[in-house]
Structure formats: structure tokens, C-alpha cells
């Protein structure tokens, strides 16, 4: 039995030995972390562990006991607001990478001051996107952060 704070609520889960967090979450209908690779290379499965972006595909659920786990479902307003900027920039395509990106942007906004293009690119480097070409995403994120000031 593992207990952790999931999107603001304390939850307990029965898990299999060696179970990864992505599978625990998906089994309990938190579907925003999705699997895009087998090598922790794509960022599609990103969650925040104590506000730090981590790949949930490589994180044993047992290891998040007592920690704070945030998925995009837990930052719904933030994600909705960010999506409006993605829409304005034409940065929306298949969206498979988007929830993971929203979480990294959230972590970046919490951690960094004076965010410039390089900071954004640095936070996004672990988030592969095959659709957008990245530039529109970076622009949207920048405009979003400007808008929040």
C-alpha cells in the first residue's frame, strides 16, 4: 500500500511489486500521463513530484510514498490558460506532448525568474514534439508568462 498526495488529495493505492507510477495513475483513471517511449526520452509521461518534473514511466510508485504528486489534472486552470496561448500561436497539434509540457511550464514558472527563450528551450528539451516544430510552442509559452505578470 502506497500513500501520497495526488493533486491535493491524500490517496492510498494497492500496487504490484515493481509497478511504475504511470501505470498506477492510469489504472485509477488519471490518464494525462501517457507513454511515448521505453527509454525515458520523450516527456509525455511527465508528472511533478514535489513540484519537480519527473518521468512517471521510470518512477516506481513505491518511491513516491508520502510525496506530493501533481498531474495536469491538478493544475487545470493553469493548463486551460496556457492552452489559450497555444491556440493563439497555432501551437496545438496532436497534443500528445501537451500535458507534459504544461507541467514543465508550471514548474518553470514556480522556480525561475527572468525566463527567456533559452530557459524555455531548456525546460522543453525533454519534451519531444513531432508535430509543432517547437517555435510556436516556445512563443506561446513566452506570451503566456508575459500575460501572467
Amino acid at each position: 500500500m502506497v500513500t501520497f498526495e495526488l493533486n491535493g488529495q491524500i490517496k492510498s493505492f494497492h500496487i504490484d511489486q515493481g509497478e511504475f507510477l504511470i501505470d498506477t495513475l492510469r489504472r485509477h483513471h488519471v490518464v494525462s500521463p501517457r507513454r511515448g517511449c521505453d527509454t525515458t526520452s520523450c516527456g509525455v509521461c511527465t508528472v511533478l513530484i514535489d513540484d519537480q518534473p519527473m518521468p512517471s514511466c521510470a518512477l516506481l510508485t513505491a518511491r513516491v510514498n508520502d510525496k506530493k504528486v501533481t498531474t495536469v489534472e491538478g493544475i487545470a486552470d493553469f493548463a486551460a490558460e496556457l492552452s489559450a496561448y497555444f491556440g493563439k500561436e497555432g501551437a496545438d497539434q496532436c497534443g500528445f506532448c501537451n500535458p507534459g509540457i504544461a507541467l514543465s511550464v508550471y514548474a518553470m514558472a514556480q522556480t525561475e525568474e527572468n525566463i527567456d527563450d533559452d530557459t524555455i528551450r531548456h525546460y522543453l528539451v525533454g519534451h519531444l514534439c513531432r508535430c509543432s516544430g517547437y517555435v510556436s510552442q516556445t512563443k506561446a509559452i513566452k506570451a503566456f508568462l508575459e500575460g501572467r505578470k
Binding site: C42, L82, G87, G90, Q93, C94, G95, P99, S132, Y134
Partner: protein, 773 residues
């Protein structure tokens, strides 16, 4: 007709972006029943072998294993998984599971179990005894090789495509206009070169995923991350011999396709086991499986000869191509033909042109549809050799292009000769703003400011460019249809067979409907691609959605407007011509009724009826979008390393229905093309094993490689397109390989003729050149 449009040509946000960003259930895996059996496939470790015996007893003994199927459990129905219209221009050379395995990753057996762990355990418990053969791994030695990739009986072509498995040929093609050899001989200057392109992987972020179940009415319901739901339904019916009427295919949100999901992959296995057990099934490919056991781009060798007069008139182009289709011939002929048909007409003023070659079988992962579909391979070769010709003529490569390239009002005999698998369709370029694209691109990129190079010590800045064309659907073959339904309160449903795979087609088709009905985009709720509920559409491929499906939506909207006016005229007791409709209110001289009231009356009060308009469209031509692409790079002469500084694209896609989403298509294509040009290695061992079979080793561009993109659209209006539009899904990918090769040449004077263009290749070419001097 050009009028100011309210919804079309506006940068609306895609209709579904918010829910996706918020992580809501949308994709195929999200929608699988919780109790679905998990399917795993045992895949061949050998590039070529025959299964002597296969023992599944131990696997079946494992608690939680529902069934294990091998080739013995499937009827030997030869088919093609290509996902094309019918009859397909691809050979029927694939069996659901076969006794032969023809590449590392080919299916040997499929297991269904209660969970993934059990399925994996069962896979490991299957023992197979193989007769292992020497594989054909070198595509240049495949033709007439003594090893036959397809020695079996029962495979066939649907119509003549040059299929000759006894020579390892999946397809072949030959066309010639005038006498190429003679014209070349008479030309002042001839340049000759061979170009190689690699087996690029699609790397859509959502792996191939399918789930299947039987509904309470005994119908087989399949959710699939597919680009072609209607073709999926047809192929499953054919292979498993289930009546079409028993199958429903639903395409949920798809996480990217790029051609990789045009074909059918896990669907047959999931359908078979659900039919057999009555239980729901689910299959999600691992990334390794996506790399090894789906599709790649067709690797090719293109031998080009080009002739010109001294003053730079191109006289002849001769292209022999050798294309590697891998183990199965999906898209073998059609990709190959596009290498000629969507590239050679760029230089339409030649006296003679020839395009011919072979598509060979080898024992490697099959090649299939991939954004750019042959055009990117051909573009790399042709647009490279144009710069080589310019160098030989001592002429500015821009001037050489301007003198010879296709222009508005012109045509090329190739359009009529070459289609996709069949003859083509003659057409004149009613819109071709290529000259503007080129001039504007040069200006935006400040071309002559750097051309040919700027040197700072070891660092050299340079630019390189290429022009390209694509198509807008497959004329006379692929049909799209749309239904618009009026609801009470005056809002509409738009039902389309067209397949949104992330490119935003639901949004742009709704924009076309909203424009036609003069209503707000929010007033149109879209449903796409459910084989039971939406009208037919061939699917998302061949740059067809905006032009073909868009025209169907346009027609349906006009039809709906007519119906509305008729009803309004009845209520207002005037002639249709006496009514003015602004999208919200029908006005006659003395009276008016709102759409809301009219629709409520039609539902509940007076002469009740459902208004529904359905229209379909099949293209009579395929108006090409055009573009100019210019790359700016900085190369380090000492290491061969280079950085991409900017990529300028100026595109003529007619009127972009949604400039933002069109830009997304172009920029996404550019970056995927840059991946092929510079980063994406797809090497195989001698035994045919893919070395870069995961995302650690197969490097696609990240935010670190891509810093700036400059994208613009030319003012253009294609009369035959919906609101002046042409398609734009593929054109972006075509130019980067040639543009980069040309930029490297401009920077350091070496010509790289094989992709990807790596620092190692550049450095060794520099060394070689220095040694020769």
C-alpha cells in the same frame, strides 16, 4: 471570387486544444475498457526464416493467459495493410501471421492475457524452431538475388504494377517523354550524380494503439489510432472474412500519424481475438515495436542526369530510382511514382524527361506511407543536382531556377502520364506563386547578404535553398464526404469521414462549414471518422483533407443553406429570392424569423422535419501547393559540426483556411524534414537489425536544434478549392534535405549526396577535398 471572409482565413484556435492540454480522456488507450485483454506479439529475432515448429503449450499453461495464436490459427488471406483505396495499387503479399518471417520484428505469435506482465511471461514461454535463411539486406543487390523474400504462392497484384516476386520486385515503373538519351547527348553541359536517402522513422508521439470489443448488439467495435478508419474496416472484413456490416471502426483523438498510421497494424490481431473470445482486447505498441515493426520511409538510390544549354536552359532530366520497400510492398509503387510525379514537373520546360526504376523487396522493416511520400527523396536529389548544374554552368542557382521552373498557367506532360499507381490527370497551374515564394524567401532570409558564404575563422555562415511542390489529394480516386445536420436552437453538427490526426482538420472543416452557413465556429459541433455514424472519407493522406474533404464540407454547407432558405420562404410566405439570410435571421421585406425559431419550429411545431445535407467530393485535379525553403547555417570547418540558425519558408497553399494551423503544418514539416536531413540515422547491422530502435539513439530534433523558423504564405486563390484553398499537410517536409546539402556546399565547397548529412560526412569530404588539392 474573393470576398472578405469571416471565419475562413482566420487564425482560430483549434477546437479541441483545451481539453487535450488539460489531459482529458481522448486517445485510443484512454478509451479501452478496463477489463480488456492485453495483447503482446512475439516477434521474429531473424531477418529471414521459416517457422519449422512452434510450441505454445507452456504459454497456455500460465494462469491468466486467454489464448495464443500462431499462423496456424489464421486463414491464409493475402492482403495489403497499406490503407489505400480499392483496388489497392500495392501487392497483396502479407498474411495475418505467416509461417515465414521476413524481417526482425515480423509477427510470429500473438498472446492475449489478463495483464501486461502475464502476456510478456507467456511470450517468453513460447518456443519456436526456425529454419534460418541468409537475408537480403543490401537493397542494391536485391533484384534478381538468389534469395527470394517472397518465395510463397498465393500473393498477387490487383492490377499491373510491375510486381514480380521471383525477381524480388514489388513494383516497377517506366515513363519517358521524348528521347532523353539523345537530348542529353546534344546538351552543352551534363551533370550526373547518385543520391541516397535513409529509412526515416515517423516517431509520432502516440504509439500505434488499438482496442476492440463486441457491443451488446454483437457488433465488433474497434477504436484505432488510425488515419484511415474506413480502409481499416474494409481490410479487417477482407482478412478475417467478417461481413463489413458487423464492423464499426471509430477513430478517437490521434497523437500524430505522418503516414505511419495510414496502414493497418495491430487491428487485425485485436479484431481476431475479440471475435474468438468475445472479450475486449487492447494492443499498445512499445516504442521499440513502432521502430522495428511498423513502417519507415522508403530508402532510395536516385541516379540523376541533367542536361542544359550553355546559357542555362535545362534540356533533359533522367532519373533512375531504386527503392527499398522492405519485407512487404505497401505503397511500393505509389511512393516511387510520387518521387517523379511531384518533383520533376518543377522544371517543366525540358525537352525530354525520363523516370524509371524498381522497387525491391529486402528483409528489413517494411517501408510505407510517410509525409512527403517519395517527393522528399526526389526533391533532395533534384534540388541538389540543380545547384550542381549551376556550379558547372557558373551561374547563380537562383537564376537557373527562375529561368526553368514552372509558372502559373503552365503545365507539364507528367501530370497526365503519372498518377498514383495509375495514369495521372492533365492540369494547368491555375495558381502557382512559386516565383513570389522564391523572391520573398530571398528577401526574408537576406540571401545575397551572405551568399555564397561569410567566413569568421573556422566558422562559416551560409545559406542553401530548394523549391518544392506537392499535391492536393488523389484525383478521381479518393472521395471525401460530409453531412451537416441542423439542430433545434439553430446549431449544427458537422459529420465528416475526414480523419483528424492532430493536424487540426476538425477545426478547419468546421471553419469551412461556419463560413458557408455564415455562423460562428462555436455553432458547429464536429464529429469525425466513425464508420457507423459519419459519411465516408478515404482518410488523412496524400494532402487531401483541406482540398477534397474541404470541398465536400463546402458543398454540404451550400446545400444546407438552400434547405434553410426553402423552409424560411415557406414560413415567411415569400419567394426564396426575397429572403436575406445573415446566418442568424431570415428577413423578407416585411417579416423575419430567426434561425433559432425556425429550427425549433421544424423540430416541434409546424411541418416538422430534420434538415440534413450530405455532399461528397472527388477531385478532378490535384492543384499543387508550392514553396521555397531557405536554410541558414553555421558550419565549423574544423569539426564539420553545424548549427541551424533559421529556416525561411514561403508557401503557396492557396488561401490558408486557418493561417495558424497551416503554419503549424509547414513548421512541423520543416522540422521533421530537418530531422531527415541532419539527425535521423537508421542504420542496420549486417543481419538486418535496426541499431537506433529507441528514442535514446534515434535522435529527432528537440528545442535545442530548432531556434527560429520564419514562415509566410503567398497571396493566392485556387479557384477549385474551398474558399480558394489548396492542401498544406506535406509540402513543408520536402525542402530541408536539399536546402541543407546546398548550404553545406555553399559553406565549405563539399557536396554530400547521402542522408543524413552528418558532421562526420562533412569533415571527411573536406579532408578528401584538401587531399586532392
Amino acid at each position: 471570387m474573393k470576398t472578405k471572409m469571416a471565419t475562413v482565413n482566420q487564425p482560430h484556435a483549434s477546437k479541441d486544444g483545451k481539453g487535450i492540454m488539460m489531459g482529458r480522456k481522448a486517445y485510443t488507450d484512454d478509451l479501452a475498457p478496463a477489463d480488456a485483454l492485453i495483447l503482446k506479439v512475439l516477434r521474429s529475432p531473424h531477418a529471414f526464416a521459416k517457422i519449422k515448429s512452434i510450441d505454445t503449450k507452456n504459454a497456455l499453461k500460465i494462469p491468466g493467459v486467454e489464448c495464443v495464436l500462431t499462423h496456424k490459427d489464421f486463414k491464409r488471406n493475402a492482403h495489403t495493410r497499406a490503407g489505400q483505396g480499392y483496388p489497392e495499387p500495392s501487392p497483396h503479399d502479407k498474411f495475418p501471421i505467416d509461417e515465414y518471417v521476413r524481417y526482425i520484428g515480423d509477427e510470429v505469435a500473438v498472446v492475449a492475457a489478463i495483464d501486461e506482465k502475464t502476456a510478456i511471461k507467456a511470450i517468453a514461454a513460447i518456443t519456436v524452431d526456425y529454419d534460418v535463411f541468409t537475408p537480403v539486406t543490401d537493397f542494391e543487390k536485391a533484384k534478381n538475388n538468389q534469395t527470394l523474400v517472397h518465395p510463397e504462392d498465393g500473393i498477387y497484384e490487383m492490377f499491373p504494377i510491375g510486381f514480380d516476386p521471383k525477381k524480388n520486385l514489388a513494383a516497377g515503373y517506366h515513363m519517358e517523354v521524348a528521347d532523353v538519351e539523345k537530348t542529353l547527348k546534344e546538351s552543352d553541359v551534363v551533370v550526373e550524380e547518385s543520391f541516397y536517402t535513409q529509412a526515416q522513422a515517423h516517431v509520432m508521439l502516440e504509439p500505434h494503439t488499438v482496442n476492440a470489443q463486441i457491443d451488446y448488439n454483437d457488433r465488433l467495435v474497434i477504436h484505432s489510432a488510425t488515419q484511415t478508419p474506413f480502409h481499416v474496416r474494409r481490410i479487417i472484413s477482407q482478412v478475417l472474412e467478417v461481413p463489413l456490416s458487423k464492423i464499426r471502426v471509430i477513430k478517437p483523438r490521434v497523437g500524430g500519424g505522418f503516414g505511419g498510421k495510414q496502414a493497418i497494424h495491430g487491428e487485425i490481431l485485436a479484431a481476431k481475438i475479440t471475435l474468438l473470445t468475445g472479450k475486449a482486447t487492447k494492443m499498445v505498441y512499445t516504442r521499440k515495436e513502432v521502430f522495428e515493426a511498423t513502417y519507415t520511409r522508403h530508402p532510395m538510390r536516385l541516379d540523376l542526369k541533367i542536361g542544359a544549354t550553355k546559357d542555362g536552359k535545362i534540356t533533359a532530366i533522367d532519373c533512375y530510382g531504386l527503392s527499398d520497400t522492405g519485407a512487404y510492398g505497401e505503397h511500393a509503387l505509389t511512393v516511387f511514382m510520387v518521387t517523379g510525379s511531384k518533383v520533376l514537373p518543377l522544371y517543366n520546360k525540358v525537352d525530354a524527361v525520363r523516370f524509371h526504376g524498381d522497387v525491391v523487396y529486402t528483409n528489413r522493416t517494411p517501408a510505407g506511407a510517410y509525409r512527403g511520400y517519395g517527393a522528399i527523396q526526389g526533391n533532395f536529389a533534384l534540388e541538389s543536382i540543380i545547384d550542381m548544374l549551376a556550379a558547372k554552368l557558373n551561374m547563380d542557382p537562383i537564376k537557373l531556377r527562375q529561368k526553368n521552373m514552372i509558372a502559373e498557367g503552365e503545365t507539364s506532360p507528367i501530370f497526365e502520364i503519372m498518377g498514383e499507381g495509375t495514369e495521372g490527370t492533365a492540369m494547368y497551374m491555375e495558381t502557382c506563386k512559386l516565383d513570389y515564394c522564391l523572391t520573398r524567401g530571398l528577401k526574408l532570409s537576406q540571401w545575397y547578404h551572405t551568399y555564397p558564404r561569410k567566413v569568421h575563422g573556422d566558422k562559416v555562415r551560409a545559406q542553401g535553398m530548394a523549391i518544392a511542390m506537392q499535391g492536393s489529394g488523389i484525383p478521381y480516386i479518393d472521395m471525401g464526404a460530409a453531412t451537416i445536420k441542423l439542430n433545434d436552437d439553430g446549431f449544427y453538427n458537422l459529420m465528416v469521414g475526414a480523419t483528424d490526426i492532430g493536424q487540426g482538420s476538425d477545426t478547419i472543416l468546421a471553419q469551412i462549414a461556419a463560413e458557408g452557413l455564415k455562423t460562428d465556429l462555436e455553432n458547429v459541433a464536429v464529429y469525425s471518422s466513425d464508420s457507423d455514424l459519419t459519411p465516408f472519407d478515404a482518410g488523412a493522406y496524400a494532402s487531401s483533407t483541406t482540398y477534397v474533404s474541404g470541398n465536400a464540407v463546402y458543398k454540404a454547407a451550400k446545400e444546407m443553406e438552400k434547405m434553410l432558405l426553402k423552409e424560411a420562404a415557406r414560413v415567411l410566405k415569400v419567394d426564396i429570392d426575397a429572403i436575406d439570410f445573415d446566418g442568424e435571421t431570415f428577413k423578407s421585406k416585411d417579416d423575419e424569423i430567426t434561425l433559432k425559431d425556425l429550427s425549433n419550429q421544424l423540430y416541434y411545431n409546424d411541418e416538422q422535419k430534420q434538415l440534413t445535407a450530405t455532399a461528397s467530393y472527388v477531385g478532378h485535379k490535384s492543384p499543387p501547393p508550392f514553396m521555397a525553403g531557405i536554410i541558414a547555417i553555421e558550419v565549423d570547418k574544423a569539426t564539420g559540426e553545424f548549427e541551424v540558425l533559421d529556416y525561411t519558408s514561403v508557401v503557396d497553399c492557396g488561401v490558408p483556411i486557418n493561417p495558424n494551423l497551416a503554419k503549424g503544418q509547414v513548421e512541423g514539416g520543416i522540422v521533421q524534414g530537418l530531422g531527415m536531413a541532419a539527425y535521423e540515422l537508421a542504420d542496420r547491422t549486417k543481419n538486418g537489425k535496426l541499431i537506433q530502435a529507441d528514442l535514446l539513439n534515434y535522435k529527432i530534433p528537440t528545442t535545442m536544434e530548432i531556434k527560429t523558423l520564419t514562415t509566410e504564405f503567398a497571396a493566392s486563390y485556387e479557384e477549385s478549392g474551398p474558399y480558394g484553398a489548396k492542401s498544406v499537410g506535406e509540402i513543408g517536409i520536402d525542402t530541408p534535405p536539399a536546402a541543407l546539402a546546398n548550404a553545406i556546399y555553399n559553406a565549405v565547397g563539399v557536396r554530400i549526396t547521402s542522408l543524413p548529412i552528418t558532421p562526420e560526412k562533412i569533415l571527411s569530404a573536406i579532408k578528401e577535398k584538401e587531399n586532392m588539392q
